[in-house]
């Protein structure tokens, strides 16, 4: 492809082998390829440099981590619903260290909480949204044969994997895994057991992986677009990935710095985060002192607030693709959406201290961060409004991806709007660190981002495998999850407004907690129901590999470039060089032969 720009190599050399015929199929086993160079199994599926294989590797690994992280939470929900009662059946599989007599130990509860957050954010959602969808879809959508640096891409996946393994293995360390929350606030995290050291090493791997990935993404998007693919012809998903990559590139290094400093504190005995005169268990800690626990919070939230947008932006990108495709009309306010997310990405660096209103920050700086926080809600509202306007007057097809994408809108709106009281100092003082916060950000990332990611899986699965997913199972999965997840997170707002702290091992120790304890039982049963609701998805995911209906290039009648390539696309992606003729969402163009005019078709 783009032969005339190739620096060397014969023109018209087949960049794509004949293996791209659709006999080449399933993910897991090599079919009888008649390609002229057969790669050994481990090069084709394990250490592949093909962005599509790496994307699928990321996605599958991330889905496993998501399920594991969710399992940790389902265990915590037992303790929250029935504090101090032995866990039936599952309790017996754990050692007496962590579950004496089947009752969850407080230390173990803390480990589960810290690792739930870490795994969901850094090993689940980001790898799925950026590593998975970004890797698989983005090069296809811009018409590139692969990522700019395929081997760097391979490396970033294989740096991500040891990071995940270290995190998992830390459960087996003496004292267990990290237990200082996903935020790892010092001084507690510095004096915590060795699981925290593993957490820090794991994070350094994950950060390195993200940095390598983000460099690759930016170079690919800027340098390798197909002919005619101008900036404002890029699908919105690509814009979202570009902004996300910049956030990862520039926000992660400060956390890496913070991680290095905390490692120094833990391993070399420095006191970057340990104040003078710290007393632990009645004894003065023998360190030099003079450090600042707030320094960690600044460096952590300098990453972790943009990180929120790293989670949500790819999700918004997926929703845009699915909505445009299923309403059969152009995305409303495409340019406005692009400008909004660029502004969103920019502002996300200037709001971090709204997580720190309770740290005794002065009023001037509080007001500054409160103002920026209110400003950043504007582009978010523009995004949701554009999507709503896109629905208006559309001829909506309620396919499974569209169900998830439509559900994203109210869920994200609830999550976003409940964030406003947390961004204002006065109301934050009351709501800070309560279950209200948990409800707020989970509405953004669970029924928001995760639903969008499910939409993406149902939407692009046919492209990745050449087969459709079962729509009945998909609808069961959607409705069951949708109802359950709202029963999980909606009651948390009420618990939070009753003052229930988010980190209590036993919520009934306080009288105000006992009042809302029945809600904990509701939440827990809803959470377990949500766990069961994933079974139809898991069945669907694997069954469809073999039994799903075979499809051609463009099963959804979509307009963007990835639907030009064969399903699944072979090495090198496109059979002929893609040339882009128009903007990405030209649906129902008056006078056109059909209700979609793909970017890659000259006359439509």
């Amino acid at each position: 492809m783009s032969v005339e720009q190739q620096p060397h190599g014969t023109p018209n050399a087949p960049a794509i082998g004949p293996e791209t015929g659709h006999a080449h199929g399933e993910l897991a086993h090599a079919g009888p390829d008649h390609g002229h160079h057969e790669l050994p199994f481990w090069k084709k599926y394990i250490f592949s440099v093909d962005h599509k294989v790496i994307g699928i590797q990321y996605a599958v690994t991330a889905l496993l981590f998501l399920f594991f992280g969710f399992t940790l939470m389902m265990m915590m929900r037992w303790q929250l619903a029935y504090p101090g009662r032995p866990m039936p059946f599952f309790g017996r599989f754990f050692s007496d260290n962590v579950m004496p007599g089947g009752v969850m130990a407080p230390e173990f509860y803390n480990q589960l909480g810290a690792m739930h957050g870490t795994i969901m954010v850094f090993l689940g959602v980001v790898p799925l949204a950026v590593g998975g969808f970004g890797n698989f879809v983005m090069p296809l959508q811009i018409g590139a044969p692969d990522m700019a640096f395929p081997r760097l891409n391979l490396l970033s996946y294989w740096v991500f994997v040891p990071g995940g393994i270290i995190m998992l293995a830390s459960f087996a360390m003496p004292g267990g895994a990290a237990q200082s929350g996903w935020t790892s606030y010092p001084p507690l995290s510095v004096i915590a057991s060795s699981g925290q050291t593993a957490w820090l090493f794991g994070m350094i791997f994950l950060i390195t992986s993200s940095l390598l990935g983000s460099i690759n993404f930016i170079v690919t998007i800027v340098q390798m677009r197909a002919k005619g693919m101008t900036f404002f012809r890029l699908p919105f998903f690509v814009h979202a990935q570009l902004v996300t990559s910049f956030l990862l590139l520039l926000a992660f290094p400060p956390l890496e710095a913070a991680g290095i400093l905390q490692l120094m504190d833990r391993l070399a005995g420095t006191s970057f985060f340990l104040p003078t005169g710290l007393v632990v268990s009645g004894e003065a800690l023998k360190v030099a002192g003079g450090g600042s626990p707030l320094l960690w919070q600044h460096l952590f939230w300098f990453l972790a607030h943009p990180e929120v947008y790293v989670l949500i932006l790819p999700a918004i990108g997926i929703v845009a693709e699915v909505i445009a495709n299923n309403t059969r009309k152009p995305l409303w306010g495409y340019r406005l959406l692009v400008y909004s997310i660029i502004f969103l990405g920019f502002m996300s660096f200037v709001v971090w201290a709204h997580h720190m209103f309770m740290t005794g920050m002065g009023t001037t700086m509080s007001t500054f961060f409160q103002t920026t926080t209110m400003i950043i809600s504007v582009p978010s509202v523009i995004v949701v409004t554009c999507f709503l306007m896109s629905l208006y007057g559309g001829n909506i097809r309620f396919t499974v991806p569209m169900l998830f994408a439509t559900a994203f809108l109210p869920m994200f709106a609830i999550g976003g709007l409940t964030g406003l009281p947390l961004g204002l100092t006065a109301s934050d003082i009351y709501l800070h660190d309560t279950f209200y916060v948990i409800g707020h950000f989970h509405y953004v990332v669970a029924p928001g981002t995760l639903f969008a990611l499910f939409a993406g899986i149902y939407y692009w699965y046919p492209k990745a495998t050449g087969r459709m997913m079962n729509s009945t199972l998909g609808k069961i999965h959607f409705w069951w999850s949708f109802v359950s997840i709202n029963f999980v997170f909606m009651p948390m707002f009420f618990q939070g407004m009753a003052g229930l702290s988010r980190r209590l091992y036993d919520p009934t120790v306080y009288a105000h907690g006992r009042g809302v304890q029945p809600l904990n039982v509701v939440i827990s049963w809803a959470a377990w129901s949500l766990g069961l609701a994933q079974i139809p998805f898991i069945i669907n995911f694997f069954m469809s590999l073999k039994n799903g209906a075979r499809i051609a290039e463009n099963p959804w009648n979509a307009t963007t470039l990835e639907w030009m390539a064969p399903s699944p696309p072979g090495h090198g992606n496109f059979l002929t060089e893609p040339i882009v003729y128009r903007e990405p969402y030209e649906y129902s163009v008056p006078g056109a032969k059909q209700d979609f005019s793909p970017q890659f078709v000259a006359e439509a």
């Binding site: 520039l250 707030l294 600044h298 460096l299 300098f302 201290a353 002065g362 700086m365």
Partner: protein, 104 residues
């Protein structure tokens, strides 16, 4: 320096003289900044002078050795963005903890 422009070895060799000149300038500035530190100026002035000299040296390295002086727009855009966020991370945390307190 521009990979896309036609390459002219004679013209290019002029750059070499530039590199040596920058090297001499860097060496002199290093000597100056060390020398000034022995003057025991008061704190804000000492910090100011040291930072100005370091910035000049850094600019020379970036402009000439890293060819920023003839670099493409996309690199400048990237660097402008980075400098903005760099200033944020450098200044805001300290401002937040110091507010109402002493500075230096």
């Amino acid at each position: 320096m521009d990979a896309a422009a036609p390459f002219d070895p004679v013209e290019f060799k002029k750059h070499l003289r530039q590199y040596y000149a920058v090297f001499v300038a860097l060496a002199c500035l290093t000597a100056i900044t060390v020398g000034v530190s022995y003057l025991r100026l008061n704190r804000p002035l000492a910090i100011g002078v040291a930072l100005v000299i370091a910035s000049i040296k850094a600019s020379l390295v970036a402009a000439v050795f890293m060819h920023l002086i003839s670099e493409k727009k996309v690199i400048f855009a990237l660097l402008a963005l980075t400098v903005f966020f760099f200033l944020l991370v450098l200044l805001l945390p300290a401002m937040t903890t110091l507010e109402g307190g002493r500075i230096l």
